[in-house]
């Protein structure tokens, strides 16, 4: 490289390289390093494939259909992996989910500060998290027959 770069240019490029690195906070680098803990873990990544909030027409229909007597389903999301999907409904006071195809297991809710709360998944694949998670979190579902799936981090 850079036979066509004089010393001043090279120094200014080095300065720029340092500046770009210094702009990145250490917590961001460390977050990247810690992601390696997931290497060789069989958990499959479940990607967000449906979010009712991306579908404004649907949501406005749901809103207008809301009645005072029943808690309205205000948002629905689906995370999909190769072996199973996790369907979620956000209500006023809880996050209700179902594993498809249904299976028994446990569900871990990991929050951004590393805290993990565990709830059980019943035989028809349903679980309930209360209250609705505040801030970013991800869900990891482990079924009794050995399927292990983790969602992306997301915020409701």
């Amino acid at each position: 490289m850079g036979d066509d770069w004089d010393d001043e240019r090279l120094l200014s490029a080095l300065r720029e390289a340092q500046r770009a690195r210094q702009l990145v906070p250490q917590w961001f680098i460390e977050g990247g390093q810690s992601a390696y803990a997931w290497h060789n873990i069989d958990a499959q990544l479940a990607q967000l494939t449906y979010d009712s909030s991306h579908d404004q027409d649907l949501e406005s229909i749901m809103r207008s259909a809301r009645t005072r007597s029943e808690p309205a389903s205000i948002r629905a999301l689906t995370f999909t992996s190769a072996r199973l999907s996790i369907e979620l409904e956000v209500t006023a006071d809880s996050l209700i989910g179902q594993i498809v195809p249904p299976r028994h297991g446990t569900l871990e809710q990991e929050s951004g500060d590393g805290e993990i709360a565990t709830v059980s998944i019943d035989e028809i694949g349903c679980f309930c998290i209360q209250p609705v998670p505040d801030g970013s979190f991800r869900l990891r579902c482990r079924s009794e027959d050995g399927i292990d799936v983790v969602t992306n981090w997301f915020t409701l």
Binding site: M1, G2, D3, D4, W5, D7, R9, L10, L11, S12, A13, L14, R15, E16, A17, Q18, A20, R21, L23, V24, W27, F28, I29, G31, G32, Q33, A35, Y36, W38, H39, N40, Q44, L45, L48, D51, S53, H54, Q56, G112, G135, S136, V150, N152, W153, F154, T155, L156
Partner: protein, 200 residues
């Protein structure tokens, strides 16, 4: 740079349970992910989520990347996708009145420039590490902001002021011949030089 053998080797080592290689990958490319997130004007909380999601996808793809050498471009694509996802979610949480606004579009050319800059910057940082300690000390003082005076450099490194200039030239020449910068290739260095147009 797109066939940079060092990236291929790092990916292969990381796929083979080498945490050091993984750390080097994150050290090299975190600035690229960060810069794209700031192009999309994400808040820190969202940047954290985007970063986690991008790294997690990379961890899971390590052994399956079709073109490991194209890692920077792959990371940029995934990062943009996650940025848009985060923006959509953030927008939903805000006033519904803003929902009709189009999501910001970051020009593909800007992203391409960020990729090139990230590759160049990573090569320059790696090149510095190849230099002997004395050169690294001298360049660190010259690169500090504000730059140290020749008098300070002379006092700290115990070299005569008159030999700082020649040593500086020798160190920079070694830097040009470093394997990290040789790999970067002359073609990449001619485009998007820093210091010309404003960055960021």
């Amino acid at each position: 740079m797109r066939d940079d053998p060092s990236v291929i080797a790092l990916v292969a080592r990381a796929a083979n349970s080498d945490q050091d290689a993984w750390n080097e990958i994150t050290e090299r490319y975190a600035p690229l992910i960060w810069s794209i997130c700031t192009r999309y004007r994400l808040k820190n909380q969202d940047i954290e989520d985007v970063g986690q999601n991008v790294w997690l996808q990379l961890v899971q793809q390590l052994g399956k990347l079709r073109e490991p050498a194209a890692l920077p471009g792959w990371l940029a694509t995934i990062t943009q996708r996650e940025c848009l996802r985060a923006l959509t979610a953030a927008r939903r949480a805000e006033d519904a009145g803003t929902l009709d606004d189009a999501l910001p579009v970051v020009d593909a050319e800007i992203i391409e420039q960020e990729i090139l800059a990230a590759e160049r910057n990573a090569a320059l940082r790696a090149a510095l590490l190849e230099l002997p300690l004395r050169c690294r000390q001298l360049l660190a003082m010259l690169l500090s902001d504000p730059p140290c005076s020749y008098a300070e450099i002379s006092a700290t490194l115990e070299i005569p002021i008159g030999s700082i200039g020649p040593q500086r030239a020798r160190c920079l020449e070694r830097l040009r011949r470093s394997s990290a910068l040789t790999r970067l290739g002359a073609g990449e260095m001619r485009v998007n030089l820093p210091g010309g147009e404003g960055h960021g």
